[in-house]
């Protein structure tokens, strides 16, 4: 049944909380494996939901769930080996929160009821808070406080938006259950004024969680202070979940004939996010913050792609998949860099190629991927977004878009080159490289490459189903 996809992690997470460390790690791995199996069953729709009122199996939800489940399997393997090195005093709390966080995110992916989606998104904030402040340093406390407070307030505004959307139904003559699927069926009869107001609040609310500027201020802090496996999960899976909330409402708006309005709102927020990250990435001194700003940029790109529609919507979905794979690979690699050098400063992590050759190659390959170089998927998705924009005649939008991409590439490549290639005096290695920790990020990168060369038909069809409701096509 569909609900098991979040019930299983919730139960396992609660158990890990009380179990000793060793068996907790085993249960973490076992749950990750079972989660992949359940997700695969759901993907091919082998089982249905028990109660269709609150949860549903939707193509866009399955995309998010599929990425999340795959990432979590690799991240949990990495976590087990990473934890063996760092000796965290509260490891059961960390592992338990990872599982509870997975449960909350899976709930977002399958939620269909408008308020249930809100409940699940708020739950992701609360479950992931312990992941960030697990070190209990001054910085991590500040990051956690900002994260919990800014996201809670933002998501409270999303609740207001949800009420407005529900009210748009009560203003009209129709009466249906308050779920996205039944709202989509009667979308053209809903009150447009309240829908518009609701959409704005939803974008501000879930956009806060997704990292859209100017509500992004929590994101660089949380991503840089969390331990690397948690950062990878935040960036690769959580941001997609928040995006799903925005996307569901965008579908509703398109159904109600307000697609132009909501598309323009998304494009505006997306471009602002790209500009903000371009400005802040230039002079970063912390490599995890640099990657966090890159996440803001990529969420902006996805918002722009969805806003433009047509083939750009297909590209946005593609971008979401590849960004998750590559960015979580990069964050896992930064975990290895942090172990090896003991610092997050770009200045003091020079000479990586000589000291940590495997890490350096993975990091550089990941950077090439995230900046959109040809063998990786982001090249295709960004190219398709540009094509889609030109087809619909949005020349100003695409000029800003390309300008930001160039600026970000120029800014980030300087920093990455410095880290990977420049020379370093001392040969001190705190923790040597290990294949067990180097392999998960490499597998993530290889998956991204494989998906470029050969995309399974069922994945292609799922993307097509997911974007068909907002008028997105593969053929332009």
């Amino acid at each position: 049944m569909l609900q098991s996809v979040f019930l299983l992690p919730f139960l396992a997470g609660t158990a890990v909380f009380f179990l000793p460390v060793k068996s907790g790690r085993l249960l973490l791995l076992a749950t990750a494996l079972f989660h992949v199996l359940i997700t695969a069953l759901e993907w091919f729709q082998a089982t249905g939901p028990l109660q269709t009122q609150y949860f549903a199996n939707t193509p866009e939800g399955m995309l998010v769930l599929g990425i999340m489940s795959f990432l979590f399997l690799l991240i949990s393997i990495y976590t087990v080996f990473y934890m063996a090195e760092v000796e965290m005093s509260k490891e059961p709390v960390f592992n338990a929160s990872m599982l509870l966080f997975l449960g909350a995110m899976s709930m977002v992916a399958v939620a269909d009821h408008i308020i249930m989606l809100w409940v699940a998104v708020e739950a992701t904030t609360l479950m992931s808070a312990p992941l960030i402040f697990v070190h209990r340093s001054k910085e991590s406390l500040e990051a956690t406080w900002k994260y919990v407070l800014i996201c809670s307030v933002g998501i409270a505004l999303a609740l207001l938006g949800s009420f407005f959307i529900i009210f748009s139904m009560e203003m009209s003559t129709v009466h249906v259950p308050i779920s996205f699927s039944s709202f989509n069926d009667v979308a053209d009869q809903l009150n447009t004024v309240w829908l518009k107001a609701g959409f704005i609040f939803i974008v501000i609310g879930y956009g806060t969680k997704m990292g859209l500027a100017p509500m992004h201020t929590w994101l660089p802090d949380a991503h840089s202070e969390a331990p690397s496996p948690a950062s990878a999960l935040l960036s690769g899976a959580l941001l997609n979940c928040a995006f799903l909330g925005v996307y569901r409402c965008h579908q509703l708006m398109v159904g109600a004939g307000l697609g132009d309005y909501s598309g323009n709102v998304l494009i505006a927020f997306g471009l602002v996010s790209m500009l903000v990250s371009a400005v802040f990435i230039l002079n970063q001194t912390d490599y995890k913050r640099m990657l966090a700003y890159s996440s803001i940029e990529n969420m902006g790109i996805i918002a722009v792609g969805i806003g433009i529609g047509g083939i750009a919507a297909f590209a946005a979905m593609l971008h979401m998949i590849h960004h998750s794979l590559i960015k979580s690979s990069l964050f896992l690699t930064t975990g290895n860099i942090l172990l090896g050098y003991g610092t997050k400063s770009i200045d003091r992590t020079r000479g990586m190629l000589r000291l940590f050759p495997e890490t350096a190659i993975t990091f550089f390959a990941g950077f090439a991927g995230i900046s959109g170089f040809p063998p990786f998927g982001l090249f295709i998705s960004e190219l398709l977004i540009v094509m889609g924009a030109i087809k619909t005649g949005r020349y100003v939008v695409i000029s800003i878009f390309i300008f930001c991409l160039i600026l970000i590439f120029a800014g980030a490549s300087r920093l990455v080159m410095q880290m990977v290639f420049s020379s370093r005096d001392s040969d001190e290695r705190l923790v040597p490289e290990q294949w067990s920790r180097a392999l998960p990020p490499i597998i993530l990168l290889l998956t991204s490459l494989t998906l470029v060369l050969w995309m399974p038909d069922s994945l292609f069809l799922t993307i097509q189903h997911a974007i068909s409701s907002i008028g997105g096509t593969v053929n332009g």
Partner: protein
Amino acid sequence: MIHISNILLALILLSVLLSLRSNRLMALVELMAFQGVMVSAVPLVLETAHGVTFNLILFFLLLVLVKGVLIPWLMYRAVKLVVVDREVEPIIGYNASLFAGLIMIVFSVYVTNNLHLNMLPMDHKLLLATAITTMGAGLILLMTRRKAITQVIGYLIMENGIYLIGTALAKQVHTQYVVEFAVLLDLIVAVLVMGIVLNDINHTFDDVDTTLMGQLKD
């Protein structure tokens, strides 16, 4: 029946204004408990036209338990445990905040009148104005007070306001108890998590003043 709901709304407004003016943390927590009980009673009074059902009363009791007892008790404990200096420490003065609250009332009445909600009964419109004021006042508290604990209280008042807006507008939400229960559960966990972080902030910084936290910036 209309009179009871009007008294209720007046009391909520009064608690909002008092919370903007109050300079003691304990007084703020007591006000929040009072406001929680009043807010929980609103659906009970408004829905009487459709008849009071068993579920409605049960849910009213649950709401009072959570918003009027459990959450204020958690906050009360946090104030006792955490804060040495029990002053609120505003960034903008009390009188200015109070004035902002009054402007907020005028603004929300203006907004409510201009929404052309002819289908809503009169007491729902008054409720909407009260609700917007409550939400706005919560935001003001959240942004203009230094202590982390006051920010949590501001968040809770804002949440009360949003809950009231939901009550005024969307009727169907309040018949789906599973969903409302889930929302409440989220609120409790949020307060618990914030409480734990608060406690740690106090241990690490020896205070819950958020201006002490400024390490992370670009």
